[in-house]
């Protein structure tokens, strides 16, 4: 006859061992990758990047991964450029959701602000008609989205968890409805002829002192061919990922981590939680604005139909599915969420149904996501153990 206490420890021990065994396989894979010498790893990474750049021109007979190889498929490079833009969005949202642990369901609002800024300041057909080149619109877009991030964040970041989620959801919807109703944004009819990244038609007289005149169009970026947009997006993704990674490993990143795991404890240890949360919001917003700017020029045309809330929710779903906090996991999740529906177009309208069900199944089986960050996975493992031990003890 064992005592209750002994039985409790025996059960808890068994649970721990089973969990450890289950983790071993994934850790083995990661360990093997880490044990490869660094130059080889770098080379392999480089090869991967080259492959990504070549992707629009690759076709493998027998493996129809291109979306234009199926009936009614959309051009593969167009799909790729869309996915690349969405990956950029997801990397930005990951700063807010995955790193700082703030649930932002209205991230699409920042994306919309970025896209509309470029369209309004760049297009000759908007009311403002300043006709700034794209390269000048982008910093304006980033600055405006950062400001809107701070404006939204200042009052709301004092709220916790779910409330923040709902306020941001409201914010995303307000931005969309304003875009539908205002004259500047021109609602459903939208703003056409957004400038391409490689054209400029400028004739400025700066204070009457000197004159700046540019009038060129390199015609690399055209509506006919989406590949240059895809390549541009890839470059931006790589730059942003490198920047975010170095931020993650800095003081700022460690503060985010502390806030995410336990905000009260972090505050007590001297982390200025509000300040760093606001930073996360502003940086995330800036990346959202950048991707919006890219989207506007790729699409040439921006209207309110591009920014519905479901898309915003999909971004969060993509991040959590891939494994929040881990940038590569996030990229994986986004590619899955936005590529598979294009590839499996023959499921036509049923694909969203399948998507919804898949979301439930995957999250129930793997709440940590498909490819989580190690730390996140461990946090979840802890919670699971606590639950099991509590059940065993009860």
């Amino acid at each position: 006859m064992t005592t209750l206490k002994e039985r409790y420890y025996a059960v808890a021990d068994g649970v721990r061992k089973a969990e450890a065994g289950r983790q071993k396989w994934a850790q083995g894979l990661r360990g093997r990758w880490q044990s490869i010498p660094k130059p080889v790893r770098l080379l392999a990474g480089l090869a991967g990047v080259v492959l990504l750049f070549a992707l629009p021109n690759i076709a493998i007979p027998g493996i129809p991964f291109r979306t234009d190889e199926i009936p009614n498929g959309i051009g593969f490079s167009f799909v790729l450029s869309t996915i690349a833009i969405y990956v950029l969005v997801a990397v930005g949202l990951n700063v807010v959701v995955g790193m700082a642990g703030l649930l932002d369901l209205g991230y699409i609002g920042f994306y919309a602000v970025g896209a509309y800024t470029v369209a309004i300041f760049g297009s000759p057909d908007s009311i403002v008609a300043t006709k700034y080149p794209w390269l000048i619109c982008v910093p304006i877009a980033i600055a405006l989205t950062m400001v809107s991030g701070v404006i939204l964040g200042t009052p709301t970041l004092r709220l916790r968890g779910d409330y923040l989620a709902i306020v941001t959801l409201g914010f995303g919807e307000i931005i969309r409805l304003v875009a539908v109703n205002l004259r500047v944004t021109n609602g459903q009819r939208g703003i056409p002829s957004v400038p391409a990244p490689d054209e400029a038609h400028v004739d400025w007289n700066v204070f009457g002192w000197f004159r700046i005149k540019f009038d060129f169009d390199l015609d690399i970026f055209t509506p006919m061919d989406a590949r240059p947009y895809y390549w541009l997006a890839l470059v931006l993704i790589i730059v942003v990922i490198l920047a975010v990674r170095s931020m993650e490993r800095s003081r700022v990143g460690r503060s985010w981590l502390a806030i995410r795991e336990d905000e009260d404890a972090a505050s007590i240890m001297g982390v200025e939680s509000f300040k760093f949360k606001l930073w996360a919001f502003a940086i995330g917003a800036a990346i959202g604005g950048l991707s919006g700017a890219l989207f506007a020029t790729r699409n040439v045309f921006v209207n309110s139909g591009n920014f519905n809330l479901l898309l915003s929710v999909m971004f969060v779903a993509a991040i959590v599915l891939g494994g929040q906090g881990n940038i590569l996991g996030v990229v994986l999740g986004t590619v899955i969420v936005f590529y598979l529906p294009e590839r499996f177009r023959f499921l036509s309208t049923k694909r969203e149904l399948v998507f919804g069900l898949a979301l439930i199944v995957i999250m129930v089986l793997r709440p940590q996501g498909l490819w989580p960050s190690r730390r996140r996975a461990r946090e979840l493992q802890d919670r699971k153990l606590e639950a099991k031990e509590a059940a065993a003890g009860a």
């Binding site: 409330y163 709902i166 409201g170 307000i174 409805l177 149904l353 709440p367 979840l380 699971k384």
Partner: protein, 329 residues
């Protein structure tokens, strides 16, 4: 200045109509909000899929009316009073059962496994989104994405006219509008009584206050949670039937916006608090209609969300503010 005085002159004559319309709309928000608030009160979980619980209810009541022999556009005259009561009863029961069943199903499939794993709340939100998308798309597939009409069961008849005088136009109030607002109040009263007087209600309040202690006192937590979802579903079913009567056409994608508004209502009144859901729903309906009258109809949803943001900024606990666990416990 001119802008505002012009707007004011647009608003003033319609004030009575707007109030009546706002309260009616608000009653439907309130009924849906009851479901959000119940689940939140017990689990601190935003049941994002609750909008779809409402959605299946709207279809269920129309299907049952069709079985009885009243379909949209078949030229049937408006039925006599006895038949109407029978039809409404059958429709409400069907909608409530289907909505309640769906709510419990969502709980079992999408939430219960995660609860056992003690997953963070964000994960619940994602499965809820999955369930919401799946149900709405399933309904869309089954109905070929075409909107459905609702048979005319109740002829809107003016019962009395509110005439406040001054420069405000007299506002007629129809039987339908009275019925909708009364139903919301009755439903709230029933739920409130159930929670505060019955044994099951005691269990729900106990779990809301402290699940572990409640479990130690012999409350079956799983059963209480299922019951909570069921109750929310029942209220959503009533809302669905009334919505059918009021709007007259439904489609598979009406859930999202309505659910968001109802959640706003729940937060506005104080989430986790049944009375708050009722008050929040009515206030939201009222304010958004008045706002629409002032700024123009196209701004109606913006008004609603701006209210949500403002409330959360200045009074995150809502108008009434206390939670299910603490309310008269």
């Amino acid at each position: 200045m001119n802008y505002f005085s012009d707007r004011w002159h647009d608003l003033l004559p319609n004030l009575g109509d707007l109030v009546v319309a706002g309260l009616t709309q608000g009653a439907i928000y309130a009924l849906i909000a009851l479901g959000y608030t119940l689940v939140y009160g017990v689990l601190q979980l935003i049941n994002f899929a609750h909008s779809e619980v409402f959605l299946v209810g709207t279809y269920a009541s129309i299907i049952v009316w069709g079985w009885i022999g009243y379909a949209a556009g078949d030229g049937n005259p408006v039925p006599a009073l006895g038949t109407v009561i029978l039809l409404l009863g059958a429709g409400t029961i069907a909608a409530s059962l289907v909505s309640g069943g769906t709510a419990v199903l969502i709980e079992r499939v999408a939430y219960a496994p995660l609860r056992r794993k003690n997953a963070p709340r964000l994960i619940f939100l994602i499965t809820a989104i999955g369930a919401s998308v799946a149900i709405s798309e399933l309904v869309g597939e089954l109905t070929n994405r075409r909107p459905w009409g609702v048979p005319l069961l109740v002829e809107p008849k003016t019962q009395f006219v509110i005439d406040p005088g001054m420069s405000i136009n007299p506002a007629p109030v129809t039987n339908l509008q009275i019925g909708i607002v009364l139903s919301a109040i009755v439903m709230w009263f029933l739920l409130d009584t159930f929670l505060n007087r019955s044994r099951f209600g005691l269990g729900i309040r106990a779990v809301a206050q402290n699940e572990d202690t409640a479990a130690l006192m012999g409350v079956n937590k799983d059963r209480v949670i299922m019951l909570t979802f069921l109750l929310g579903g029942l209220a959503a079913g009533v809302a669905a039937t009334l919505y059918n009567l009021k709007i007259g056409t439904i489609s598979f994608n009406i859930g999202f916006l309505l659910g968001l508004k109802a959640f706003t209502a729940a937060v506005l009144g104080g989430i986790g608090n049944l009375r708050g859901a009722l008050v929040g729903g009515l206030v939201l309906g009222l304010v958004e209609n008045l706002g629409a009258g002032f700024f123009g109809n196209k701004w109606i949803d913006v008004v609603a969300f701006v209210i949500l943001v403002i409330v959360l900024m200045f009074r995150p606990t809502g108008i009434l503010g206390d939670s299910l666990g603490r309310a008269r416990a």
